[in-house]
Amino acid sequence: MTTLTEPPKETFRLSMLIYDTRYRSLTIQVVALIGFLVLIGWLINNTMTNLETLGKEPNFRFLWEPAGYDINQRLLDYTSQSPHIRAAVIGVLNTLVIAVMGCITATIIGVIVGVLRLSKNWIVSRLMAVYVETFRNVPVLLWIVFTMAILIETLPAPRAFRGDNATASMLLDNSVAITNRGVYIPEPLFSRGLGDIPVFWGTFEISLDLMAVIAVLIAGFYASKRIRMRADSIQEATGERPTVWYQRIAAVVVPLGVLLYALGFYLGYPELKGFNFTGGTYLRNSLIALWLALSLYTAAFIAEIVRAGILAVSHGQTEAAAALGIRPNRIMRLVVLPQAMRVIIPPLISNYLNLTKNSSLAIAVGYMDITGTLMGITLNQTGRELETVLLGMLIYLTISLSISTVMNWYNNRLKLVER
């Protein structure tokens, strides 16, 4: 006779939620989640109740009322009668302009400084160390204000250019004026331009001239690439490379020249008229100060990242490349930097994000970015703190996440392909 001993059937008891390790972590997580949701609910409820008591229920209708104020730097048409939402768009574009200009300049300066800091030349590497340490260790707001103060105090006012015994004069054959209000440079103009076409139901216009130039440039570069590929295949087939550099340059330059001639291209020079220079492209000193300060500040961080990236590449790589007879600057360009990029890109992304977010300090020099327009003047004139700040956060979030996405895509392309 066999005795079948069944294991005692375990019944679920409530105390097991705490004492049984199988359930305990789940219990804790559920309790924490409930607590978190209650906290959020309380905050939202509290905010809504208090705003209602103040008689300020959140609503976004103010965005379609006339803004009433003027903005100096605007990439789209804007007058004081435009709605607040358009002022916000102008602000976003100004933020993007400074972010793009800043990221490009900071990367260029950062890479050069980072490489030079590893230089065997003692003076050069020390100088770069001094630059990196001074810029990294002083708050960026001070650099912005300091740069602006230098621009305002040291450069001549436009009225110094006037009269027979002017104390200041324009540079480069009267084409560039550097004043304490900003820099005026010649602007490209077309005497037989194609005009603009309205898009998005006339909310803004796109210059057909610009489109044409871009199209011709893209076509030119594509043709140039095809010529190079043909040269490559000839070289592979015959072992002899045809000289094509003049063809490649011509493929870009000739069509562009023809197009510019057809459109009646000429340069509009700045000219002192009345209180200010008129004509030409006007780079305001608020833009220049912010751009310089942000680029130099962020470049110091990027320089350190680049240095770390280069040092992360095994010295054996350099020696191996040298043993193959590659010259030092080509070793850097072809062997070391491509490998260092894998270390450099991730921290570089966060520095781009920092630069973009730091650009919200623009109001210190009166640069009208999104913080200055939507979260500054609009907030002040309409008194809609919650709405404008939430909207502003959403915009910064979108910009930052877009930068991350693009850079992550680039990072994935560069990543070591592992099998």
Binding site: N50, L54, K56, D70, N72, I152, T278, G383, M393
Partner: protein, 339 residues
Amino acid sequence: MKKSVFLGALTVAGIAAGGASAGTLDDVVARGTLNCGVTTGLVGFAAPDANGVWDGFDVGICRAVAAAVLGDSQAVEFIPTTGKTRFTALASGEIDMLARNTTWTFSRDVDLKFEFVGVNYYDGQGFMVPAELGVTSAKDLDGATVCIQTGTTTELNLADFFRANGISYEPVPIETNAEAQQQYLAGACDVYTTDASGLAATRATFEDPGAHVVLPEIISKEPLGPLVRHGDNEWGDVVRWTLNALISAEELGVTSANIGEMSMEAGNNPEINRLLGTEGNLGEMLGLSADWAKNAIAAGGNYGELFEGNIGENTPVGLSRGLNAQWTDGGLLYTPPFR
């Protein structure tokens, strides 16, 4: 990430809104000091002196309210605010009242939920330019670069003025009066525009005030006055009637010199008696002591004394009374009776 951003915003808003509760008078008495929002520094109106003690016309209003409520004109915490931060500071309860050249407008009163208690200076927006430019009228300013404090009504008036006259300008937005002064003096802008009183005050601090002219055009009405949060009527009444007491005192000839004598016993002018608390119970109605107005006037003198001492013709600011004279002298100052 998204969640934490929202959470942060809501926390800020929740706390801000939570602070704006009723009962400011009780809060001030319990705290023992008055939190008064002023400018970051405008000579004559509100600026710290060499010893760090705040002084000026707007500061005088704060001190009068502190004297009326707490009996001590020194029991004031001055909180400097910029054109941008002032309303948030008031709405969030960081300050109890704002005395900072703030223009009384419909939208601020109605939409921003504030309560303007009166007008302590009738002003208008003007332009200042260097004399060497030879500009005589604001209509000659086509193409000029204009420095302007951002977040103020002047910004909107400026846009309207240039649009109405069909002329162009280049706005240079700045945060504080000090920055405006720096940019203007360096020639980074041709024109500085703000309230005419502010222009006079700023010009007074220049090395060579004679080299700058204030243009004749006044392009707007700017009634400047102290304000409190909407919805706390008791506190609004206290600030309103303290201001009225200062103005009435001038009209009735009560000055800081003769107030001791006048408040000793009831005189033969019943309105003065009611004002100074020797007759009737006006102080009690406000929830203050009977000598509230006496304390307020004794703190810095009546309206006329505050004006002459801080921004009048014998001070560097050098403003004439103009619209700010008593109605009996052809000005606009006219208070309801103390009855």
